[in-house]
Structures are given as C-alpha cells and as structure tokens.
Symmetry: C2
Subunit: 201 residues, 2 copies
Amino acid sequence: MSLNAYPPVLTQLIRRLSKLPGLGEKSATRIAMFLLQCPKEEAEAIAEGILQMRSQVHTCSRCFHFTDEELCSICRDPARDTGVICVVESTADLLAVEQSGAFKGRYHVLQGVLAPLDAIGPDDIRIKELLKRLDTENIKEIIIATNPSSEGEATAHYLVKLLKDRPLRISRIAYGIPMGGDLKYTDRITMERALKGRQEF
Amino acid sequence: MSLNAYPPVLTQLIRRLSKLPGLGEKSATRIAMFLLQCPKEEAEAIAEGILQMRSQVHTCSRCFHFTDEELCSICRDPARDTGVICVVESTADLLAVEQSGAFKGRYHVLQGVLAPLDAIGPDDIRIKELLKRLDTENIKEIIIATNPSSEGEATAHYLVKLLKDRPLRISRIAYGIPMGGDLKYTDRITMERALKGRQEF
C-alpha cells in the first residue's frame, strides 16, 4: 500500500507496527487509524503501558519468569510447593502449565532451548542457574516440560543426563494424543509417543 | 487465558492491546511478549510514535485528510488539479483512491456517512464544509466516491440532490466494486476502472 499520502509520523508508526508478530501492513494501518481516532487517553494508556512495562518488568531472579519485583508472584506465593520445579522453555509455556491448575510447585524458565544448528548451547540458556537452585534450595522433584520438538527433546535429554546422579525424582510430562483429539488424524510420531508412554491401569 | 501469573503492568497492557481492531487476547499477549523482549529502543519507538502521532496528527483544515501541518500533503501539492474534488467517507478510502494513481484532483473527507439508524445526519459529517469549499474555491467537478453500502448510497444521493443546481459536473465512480464490498480493501486495478468509468448524473 502506498503510504505517501500520510504524514511521516503516521507512516513511520505503521511501518513499526507492521513488524510486530502477526501483523502486516493492512492490520498495522487499521490499528494506527484506530489509535489516531480513539479517545486520546486510550492511545496514551497503551503508549505509556509499553514504556512502563519496559522500565518495570524484568525476569524473576530465581526462576526467570516475568515480574515487576525481585521475585515473581509464583516464587513469592507461600502456598506453592517449594520442593518441586517444573522446567519450561519460555514464560508462555509456563503460563500454559499454570492454566491447567494441575501444578502447585515452582518453575524454572530456561529462556530458550538447546539448538546446536543456531549455536545455542547449555551456557546460552538458564541451565547453570537451575543447577545453582538445586544446590541451594531443597528440591525433591524436577518435572521437565519442554516442547515436543527436536530442540525440546534434546534439551530434556541433556537435562536428564546432567541431573540423573542427584537425589531427585526426575520426570517428564506425558506426550500423546491430546484430549478431544482423534486417533485417526493423529500423526505417526505422536502415536508412537502415545504408545511408548502407555500406562498400566 | 489466565493472566494472573503476569505482573499487573503487563496484564493491563495485554488487556488494552486486545481491544485494538483485529486483535484478541492471544495475539495481544504475543505482541506484548515481543515488546517486552525486543531491543528496548524498538518498543520505545512504537510507544513514542503513538504519543507523537496523537500530538502532531490532526485533520487538514480544507479537506479533513490527516496531516501534521495546516493543510495536508495533497492540498499543498501544486501539481494537483484544484478544480476537481473527490468526496470520500474516510481517510482510508482516500488512500485507496490515491493508490490507483488515476485521480489528480483534491479530496474531501466526509468523516462518516449519513446513517439515520445511528442518528448520523448531514450536520454530523463534513457536508457544510464541502458546500463552503464550493462557494470559495473554483470547483468544476465533484466525483462522489462513497462506499457501495446503503449508507454510502444514501449519502451519494443526498449530495447529488444538494448540488444538482450548481454549475458543476457531478459524477460518481463506477462500481466495478461489488455491492457490500469496501473501498479500502479494493485492488488498484478495480479502483482505476471504477474511476475511469464514472458516469454523469
């Protein structure tokens, strides 16, 4: 779309917005138009929200989840089980686990996965910090919840090898047919995992 | 999605972003995460871009297109034909006409359409301002380019009735554009055909 007919400050904002994930030039234009025509306070609240977020939000010094304090809300929560750590790749994955309501321990966000092809090794993600937590906190169980991708698998296996001599229960969340899924549309790899992960009644 | 596990400033930003057109909670979360993890300057450039746009961009005092000066870039352009006005509903529609490259006159943005059901009458859109332009500028032709919706039709007919006794050529762009369609999503070729095929009332 030719944006020449707009004032430069508007064109530039559209260009910047269109680089956000999930947006293209048309959706960015629509959003910019909305921000230009909505009540001024709403547009300012979003702009100031972005600035505030960038100045206040950082990662929890213990688990690397996002927080605006020293420790995140989960690490601060006295009701959580302090002896269990669920290891996830990202905050988004943490949130997905948290949503289930089925986990009451704490987390450790790796902030990435091992990806040799992208030159991301153990020192590039928060593995050292996990080991330090195992040395200083009284951890009894580690649940590995990396994604079922080749990088997630590699990271899980690396962690198991690294931790297996410690006095810990180490488990990995089950990968198989999703609830509501359909066996006949399930891919081979998922089916294989579901079969291998079968549990006795 | 449960957002309780996020710091309040992040949750609030996600809530605000999810009200933008085309975004829901998931896409807003994805954008907020991106804005939190991208280089700080990029996030700040977007926030400041929004604030700058709101403080600098307003409507052209002549045609009501967006501008950051007294008159918009089109009204200021000495190469444009000052005797022809293309009447559009919105700036987005103006841009769609502009893109075709087939119109070299000036515009008049109505900033809306007649919509009796929403209690939007002639005084609520920029019709008075159009009449004033006809009195003060040396206009020879009016091209009506409202959308092919019932409100757009009604607005076009209202304008024709209002203007038909003046010494003007009044035309309407040809609707190769299907009824129920939307100008701002029309491809250039169709738009050019529609402009060239305009017919006198």
